[in-house]
C-alpha cells in the first residue's frame, strides 16, 4: 500500500462531509432535549414529512426548488410547534418514560399517516447533483452542499443562542424553568419557539437529504437511530458534544467502510457506540 493513498483521503473527506449532515441532524434533537428535557423519538419522522413537503412543493405544485425548500423548513417548524402544544405540553410534568412512549406513538402515527396519504412508492424530486472530481478524488456535490449548509446552520444557531435575548432565554430556561416568569418570560412561549426551531432544523435536514435520497414513509428509520446514537454519544442535550460525536461517527462509517466494506462501516460505528455506552454512558461531553 502506498504511503499516500488517495482513496483513503477520499474516504476521510467523505467522512467529514457526512459528519456535517449528522451534526445537523443531531442539532435539532439536542436543542429540544437540552431545553425542554423531552426526547422527540419521532424526530426523524418530522424529517420524513419535511422531505414530502419539498417533494409536493416542487414536483406536484411545480414551485421553484428554492420555494419548495423554504416550504419544507416552514412545514416542519410548524409541526414542531404543534407537537409541543398538543403532545408534549400535556405530559411535561409526567415521567420521562411516558414522554418517550407518547412521542414514540407519534412516530408510528406519522408513519401510518404518511403511508395512507402519500402511498408506499418511492418518490424523488428528480434532481441529481453531479459528482465533483477534485484531484483524483470524487466527491458528491449534494454532500458538499449539505456540509456547507449544516455548518452554516450550526454557526447561526450558536450566534443566535449566545447573542440574542431570545437565545439567552432559551439557554436560561433549560437551567431554571420555574423562575423564568420573574424575568418577564412566558415559559410556554419559549418552549413553543424552541420547538419550532428544532422543527426548523429538522426541516433543514430534510431539504439536504431530499437531494440525496428517495422519499418513502419509512425513511425516518434510516436516519432516526443514527441521529439518536450521535446525540447520546455526544451527551444528550449537549450541542457541542453532538457536533464532535457526529464527526467521529462519520469517520467510523466512512473510513471503516473504506478498509472493509461499506456495510461494515456501520457495524464498526455501532460497535464503537456500544463500547462507548459501557465506558462513558453519559456521552463525550455529557454531565448525566
Amino acid at each position: 500500500m502506498p504511503i499516500f493513498d488517495i482513496f483513503l483521503v477520499e474516504a476521510v473527506v467523505n467522512g467529514i462531509l457526512l459528519g456535517g449532515i449528522l451534526a445537523l441532524l443531531a442539532l435539532g434533537l439536542n436543542l429540544i432535549f437540552g431545553v425542554i428535557d423531552v426526547v422527540w423519538i419521532c424526530y426523524a419522522e418530522l424529517i420524513m414529512l419535511g422531505m414530502y413537503a419539498v417533494y409536493y412543493g416542487h414536483n406536484v405544485y411545480g414551485w421553484p426548488l428554492w420555494l419548495a425548500l423554504v416550504f419544507g423548513v416552514a412545514v416542519v417548524a410548524v409541526l414542531g410547534a404543534l407537537l409541543h402544544q398538543f403532545v408534549i405540553r400535556p405530559v411535561l410534568a409526567a415521567e420521562p418514560i411516558n414522554q418517550l412512549l407518547v412521542t414514540g406513538g407519534v412516530l408510528f402515527f406519522l408513519q401510518a399517516v404518511a403511508t395512507l396519504v402519500f402511498g408506499i412508492e418511492f418518490k424523488n424530486i428528480g434532481i441529481r447533483l453531479p459528482q465533483l472530481s477534485v484531484g483524483d478524488m470524487y466527491l458528491s456535490l449534494a454532500r458538499l452542499i449539505a456540509f456547507g449548509v449544516a455548518l452554516a446552520g450550526m454557526i447561526g444557531m450558536y450566534l443566535f443562542l449566545t447573542r440574542t435575548y431570545l437565545g439567552t432565554a432559551i439557554r436560561a430556561i433549560s437551567q431554571d424553568r420555574a423562575i423564568m416568569p420573574l424575568m418577564g418570560v412566558n415559559p410556554n412561549r419559549i418552549f413553543l419557539i424552541t420547538s419550532a426551531l428544532g422543527g426548523g432544523l429538522a426541516g433543514l435536514a430534510a431539504c439536504l437529504l431530499v437531494l440525496q435520497y428517495d422519499i418513502h414513509p419509512a425513511i425516518g428509520l434510516t436516519f432516526g437511530p443514527i441521529t439518536f446514537m450521535v446525540c447520546v454519544m455526544g451527551g444528550l442535550g449537549n450541542m457541542i458534544g453532538g457536533f464532535i460525536a457526529a464527526f467521529i461517527f462519520a469517520q467510523f462509517i466512512s473510513v471503516g467502510g473504506f478498509f472493509l466494506h461499506i456495510e461494515w462501516g456501520y457495524v464498526i460505528a455501532f460497535v464503537f457506540f456500544i463500547g462507548m455506552m459501557f465506558w462513558r454512558p453519559q456521552g463525550i461531553l455529557g454531565s448525566r
Binding site: 432565554a169 436560561a172 437551567q175 420555574a178 423564568m180 416568569p181 420573574l182 424575568m183 418577564g184
Partner: protein, 234 residues
C-alpha cells in the same frame, strides 16, 4: 404603591397565608420578619403571582394584580429576588443580568442599567464573564439583586438575602440594602435576621404561622417586648 388586603394563599389543601394585609409606600423600605415557615416566602410568591391568592385583593399603583399572569408582573414595576438567589448557574454573570432586562421596555436601557449595577457592585464587573454558578454565596446574592435591578423596578422584593451567608457577607448585603433605600428604591424585604433588617427598614410587619401579628415602625418594634424576647434574644 403596593397594597394587600386580606390576602390568603396556600399550596393545595395547605394554607400558608391567612388574611394578610400590608402596604408599601413609594420610597419606603419595609420588612416582613418572622420565623421559618411563617409564610414569608409565600407572601412574596403571591405578590409575584407565582401562586394564586385564594382570597383578598392585591394592587400595585391602583392596578389589580389578582389576575395578572406571573410573567407580566414585572411590567407593573415589581422585580423579585427569589429565595436562594436562583441564578442561572451556567450562564455568565453578564448573561444573568441580561435576563433581568428581558422585557422589551428594559432592553433599550440595558447598557445604562448595566453601568449602574456595576457601580453598585464593582465585583460583578470584574466577574462579568464568569459562570454565575462559580460565584461565592455573597457574590451570587449581589448578582441576583443586580439582575432584578436590570428591569428598572419601582418595587424590589427581596427574599431572605442574608440566608446561608457568612456574618461578614451578611453585613455587606445589608449595606447594599441600605444603599438602595438611600438611593430611593422601594423595597419589600423578607428576613429572619431581625436584628439586622430592623436597622435598614423604615417599617416592619411580624408574620407568624401565616398571620400578620404586629406591625409598626422599625424603631418601635425594636423596643417591643415580644419581639425583643423572641427575635432579638434580649
Amino acid at each position: 404603591m403596593l397594597r394587600l388586603s386580606n390576602v390568603s394563599a396556600g399550596y393545595g389543601s395547605f394554607q400558608a397565608l391567612f388574611d394578610a394585609s400590608l402596604e408599601v409606600n413609594a420610597g419606603e423600605t419595609v420588612a416582613v420578619i418572622g420565623p421559618n415557615g411563617a409564610g414569608k416566602t409565600t407572601l412574596l410568591r403571591v405578590i409575584s403571582r407565582l401562586i394564586d391568592a385564594t382570597a383578598g385583593e392585591m394592587t400595585m399603583e391602583a392596578h389589580s394584580l389578582n389576575a395578572v399572569p406571573s410573567h407580566e408582573v414585572i411590567g407593573y414595576g415589581i422585580a423579585h429576588v427569589p429565595e436562594n438567589r436562583r441564578l442561572f448557574p451556567r450562564l455568565s454573570v453578564e448573561d444573568n443580568l441580561r435576563m433581568g432586562s428581558y422585557v422589551p421596555s428594559a432592553r433599550a436601557q440595558f447598557s445604562g442599567r448595566l453601568d449602574q449595577v456595576y457601580a453598585l457592585f464593582p465585583r460583578m464587573k470584574e466577574r462579568r464573564k464568569q459562570l454565575a454558578g462559580t460565584l461565592s454565596g455573597g457574590e451570587q446574592q449581589m448578582c441576583a439583586i443586580g439582575r432584578a435591578l436590570m428591569s428598572g423596578p419601582k418595587l424590589l422584593l427581596l427574599d431572605e438575602p442574608s440566608a446561608g451567608l457568612a456574618p461578614v457577607v451578611v453585613q455587606a448585603i445589608f449595606e447594599v440594602v441600605r444603599k438602595m433605600s438611600a438611593q430611593g428604591y422601594t423595597v419589600l424585604i423578607v428576613e429572619q435576621n431581625v436584628q439586622q433588617v430592623l436597622k435598614v427598614a423604615d417599617r416592619a410587619y411580624l408574620l407568624e404561622t401565616g398571620r400578620i401579628k404586629l406591625s409598626g415602625r422599625s424603631d418601635e418594634l425594636r423596643e417591643n417586648d415580644a419581639i425583643k424576647k423572641s427575635y432579638l434574644g434580649l
